[in-house]
Symmetry: C2
Subunit: 365 residues, 2 copies
């Protein structure tokens, strides 16, 4: 028997868990060769579902716990009180080498707090970041941080640029992804101090050749760069603003096709083409936000997703785990550190040896 | 002859100035009863254009200056070096009582810097803010600040809420507009300190009954609240992200209708309905960002707009000037101040008597 890559699944996280977790695992199985699953949660419920998905049952182990993290729990509560929660035990399995990666559709803040506590950050990375990818005019791009760190200094932003670059190479297959720092203008004097310092630091690294400079909000969807780097507050607002705007236009489209008999007939003719568009822009296609910078692969699925969306999140985790994503981040950082070791103005991407960031600035996502 | 409301126009600001300024003034003339114009800029060019627009010529005065502010000038340069620029002289006309309001499609940062210096802020307002309105699922809403102040404290945000409320009443005709603070989650413990303090302060004012609490990026297009309050950095990114996403979907739509013969036929049938949608979502309809909080009405048009968009910006300025917008802000602030005078925890919206905000935090837009 071939060695299977085992994925730990928080079976109790998400609005439609555990049903969509098991069904999603079944869908993902077809896209992830030699995968196996460790379901963590209410064993009776999970076993009952596995009966309906015999192909999953054949590659599944179940770890029972009656506890789970509530969707509205505070991260600190979940961290202290949730030691036997399905989320915590699924992450523990990664830390123990019992699974290659973990996927959860549970409470984001709790997942980040527990993952950070259990897995720790990678050498050279001060703070993990949440990343996701998006449709653009040119294809797809990656943005980070989407909410793990509300305030970021220049060093955090440079580390995010490194992680985003490796992510873009690993998951989107781009050889030389371009990087942009999200700002309110493209001129050098614009924006917060931390962003301007990060720009200067990036220009002093080997990433300089791929650094496009500042980008603005409209550049995200335009696909001006492959990796959009920002702090977690701005990234979270931008992500949700884009989602809201997409919904608004989908609704405008629906109303327009329903507004007259001619428009309705027009829709009947164009329906095939619009179904393709719907597939292309299906938010489930973009489900699966990665927690980058941890010593272990942790993927967060949207809480309200269904089996199709959850299967996508599993695929992303599978992809990161099989492609030695974390090892590549380490190698990339080492390369940058070496190039910068003798930099006269100091090392802009120095890691854990530098004083820790102000703890008051750490997000309670 | 009836007294006419005179609008000062920076004839040289914008990519297509002065042509679109004069043509826009002609279009706006039909919507603004008893308007007259003060064109400031290159007299020969303006006079030549007025010959083509005799109805405008009849209500126009021209103030000549050969100087203008370059689109890429730094605000500080424009302020120091541009004393005879068309932008500066148009704003001076408002300060001198020679015009009721001013419209410019020139450099945003320069316009804000000069308007702030010449007109000063309203009593009780520490910082002016840029506001604009947007299409939503429910109609239209207002967001501010869109880029005048990159960092804002709680007091600034509360003052923005007051200005946004009065704006929404005056321009959108809402009696009791609801207010939301843009954040990364709706729970009380979320977000930056300044946002949480602003929420607490708003709950202690007479605006509390209209204060919805925190809203997220997706709430902007959903129309969850009528007034979205945020700092200038976040607002600018959110505005441009929404614009970029709208463009992306328009392009997806274009590609979808062109993707097959059936889809093309469908478009022919639905074309009428889509032309209505295009009108509804035409960015020119939303042209005209207001500089709120100044002792004078100043409206910024998009630099790349045409006559139709510029006419909209003129209409917005006309609307604010005829509706005593600034007087209403003053009255609303006075009402809040009175209600708060004896507040035990101090006055959360105190004006100029409080120490001035950290000047290093003022934006170079």
């Amino acid at each position: 028997m071939t060695a299977r890559l085992r994925i730990a699944l928080d079976a109790m996280g998400g609005d439609h868990a555990p049903d969509m977790v098991v069904a999603g695992a079944d869908l993902a199985r077809e896209r992830c060769p030699n995968v196996s699953y460790l379901f963590v949660g209410d064993e009776a419920k999970i076993r009952a579902l596995l009966e309906k998905h015999p192909a999953v049952k054949a590659i599944a182990e179940v770890r029972h716990t009656p506890d789970f993290v509530a969707m509205d729990a505070k991260p600190s509560q979940a961290l202290r009180g949730g030691r036997n929660s399905s989320m915590r035990l699924a992450i523990d399995a990664v830390a123990a080498g019992d699974a290659a990666c973990v996927v959860s559709a549970g409470n984001t803040g709790a997942l980040m707090a527990i993952a950070k506590f259990v897995l720790k950050t990678l050498p050279g990375i001060d703070r993990p970041a949440i990343a996701s990818f998006f449709p653009t005019l040119k294809g797809e791009s990656v943005m980070l941080d989407l909410g793990a760190n509300l305030e970021c200094d220049a060093q955090n932003l440079v580390q995010f640029a490194v992680m985003g670059t490796v992510f873009s190479r690993t998951v989107l297959g781009l050889l030389e992804p371009t990087i942009g720092l999200l700002n309110v203008g493209s001129e050098e004097q614009k924006g917060h101090e931390s962003i301007r310092q990060a720009a200067a630091a990036l220009r002093a690294t080997p990433l300089a050749k791929n650094f496009h400079g500042f980008v603005e909000g409209n550049d995200i969807a335009a696909g001006t760069v492959d990796v959009v780097v920002t702090d977690g507050f701005t990234g979270n607002v931008a992500l949700k603003t884009a989602e809201g705007t997409a919904k608004l236009y989908a609704e405008f489209l629906r109303r327009t096709f329903g507004s007259s008999l001619m428009a309705k007939l027009g829709y009947l003719l164009a329906r095939g083409a619009f179904q393709k568009l719907k597939l292309r822009t299906d938010p489930r296609r973009y489900n699966g936000a990665m927690f980058l910078g941890l010593r272990g692969v942790c993927v967060k699925s949207h809480g309200g997703t269904d089996a199709v969306g959850f299967a996508n999140a599993i695929s992303v985790a599978f992809n990161l785990a099989t492609n030695q994503f974390n090892e590549k981040i380490g190698a990339e950082l080492a390369k940058l550190q070496a190039a910068l070791a003798a930099a006269p103005e100091g090392n802009p991407i120095a890691g854990p040896d530098t004083p820790p960031a102000d703890p008051s600035k750490v997000a309670a996502v």
